[in-house]
């Protein structure tokens, strides 16, 4: 347990320091959201309607693009080999790394969502709903994306291919995240149903992600 806490603490610290790039995710999120009004026009009513979808899409892309560093940075400096060889089960180590990644990258995205909501003319209810669904849904993005992060170690030059492989897996999260946000804002349909499915997706990916990532790391490294 201490080894895992140490791993989480180390990863968060590395991500927040110079060269870690945790806050670049938030900056990217901001840029994507700012780009949207240029693309669809500064119509406030339209932006209000599209707001939850834009925020979700931005968060999805931001968390996806930071994921390829999850294992490759450790692979480059050799610490990944130590983690694989250590007595801690690799699945748990992967889960710890993903948790640290979510704390350093996912949580700032959730925190930034209400501020960006102002730019998109979202009211308090919609902003709260988007922040809540992002809080429940971003772990699923991190833990399924982790599989792609592990594949990046095998591929070396993953980049674009990684996004192609991981994006289809994150479609259900996107669907239910946006559905829950929209239900809270306008819909006659209840907020609870899609939100529960979103939580279920997060919990399921919490189980599947570490095992798949650990197995592809174990097979990819030797």
């Amino acid at each position: 347990m201490t080894a895992l806490t140490a791993l989480v603490r180390r990863d968060v610290r590395v991500a927040l320091r110079v060269g870690g790039g945790a806050l670049i995710g938030v900056l990217f999120f901001l840029t994507v959201v700012v780009l949207m009004p240029f693309a669809v026009g500064p119509d406030l009513a339209l932006l209000k309607k599209l707001g939850p979808a834009i925020l979700w899409l931005g968060a999805l892309l931001a968390s996806l693009l930071t994921l390829d560093r999850l294992f490759t940075a450790d692979h480059d400096d050799g610490s990944l080999d130590l983690i694989v060889m250590s007595r801690t089960p690799l699945e748990l180590a992967c889960a710890a790394k993903a948790l640290a990644h979510w704390l350093a990258v996912g949580l700032p995205l959730v925190a930034a969502a209400p501020i960006l909501g102002l730019l998109l003319n979202l009211d308090a209810v919609a902003t709260g709903a988007v922040a809540l669904t992002l809080f429940a849904g971003t772990p699923a993005l991190t833990f399924t994306g982790m599989i792609g992060g592990a594949l990046a170690v095998v591929l070396r030059r993953g980049g674009l291919l990684l996004s192609v492989l991981v994006l289809p897996l994150s479609i259900p999260v996107l669907i239910f995240g946006v559905a829950a946000s929209n239900a809270a804002v306008s819909g006659p349909s209840p907020f609870g149903t899609p939100f529960s499915i979103l939580c279920a997706l997060s919990l399921a990916s919490l189980v599947i992600g570490p095992f798949a990532a650990a197995s592809s790391l174990r097979h990819g490294l030797d």
Binding site: I147, A150, L161, L165, L167, S216
Partner: protein, 243 residues
Amino acid sequence: MTLIDLANPSRFLTLAGRILPWLVAITALVLAIGLYKSAVAPDDYQQGATVKIMFIHVPNAWLSMFVWGVMSIAALGTLVWRHPLADVAAKTAAPIGAAFTFLALLTGSLWGRPMWGTYWEWDARLTSVLILFLMYLGLMALWRAVEDPSRAARAAAVLTLVGSVNIPIIKFSVDWWNTLHQPASVIRMGGSTLDRAFLIPLVVMAIGFTLLFLTLHIAAMRNEILRRRVRTLQMLQASKSAA
């Protein structure tokens, strides 16, 4: 002859050479019967002749999921049993599965135009099959991205197993969500809702297309093994001439 005997590629090649001509003949026969039966099947009282698209569409859609199932078993073969032919099976199945999925989408959209009034609808089953198609393409890209086939095989195997989560979602999407696509009618509790005049051609076509997949898959596996041998020989020759 058990599965482990086929671990030797040469033995697989001889077996494939012996089976393939028969398989081709049976496939052609069943498909011919199926096509004839579909051609003489009566028109639907509502849909007219367009109902016959179903005889092509349903087998393709069923194979799009079946091939991913085959690839998942092959992925288990790569990761768990370390069967030497499993990665050949997985690699060669992907393009065939992608083709079946594409045909299912294409025939479905051709049928949708006169029936639903649109080529495409963002309906749960259509969307999940489209995701399946994207995953097939991603998997093929992954196979091409890694040079060493055994490394590529293990990476692709993990991804195939993760992607297999999508298969039950596709299968039950029409039951879970109330969608435009009609719910399951051939295999369901309380028997098929299809009339025998439509059911028999459909079943024959489904068997025919499954046989077609088997034929194409075994032939593609044979080609892949030969291709790997040629590559090894070329590398040997290159290293010899370099020395």
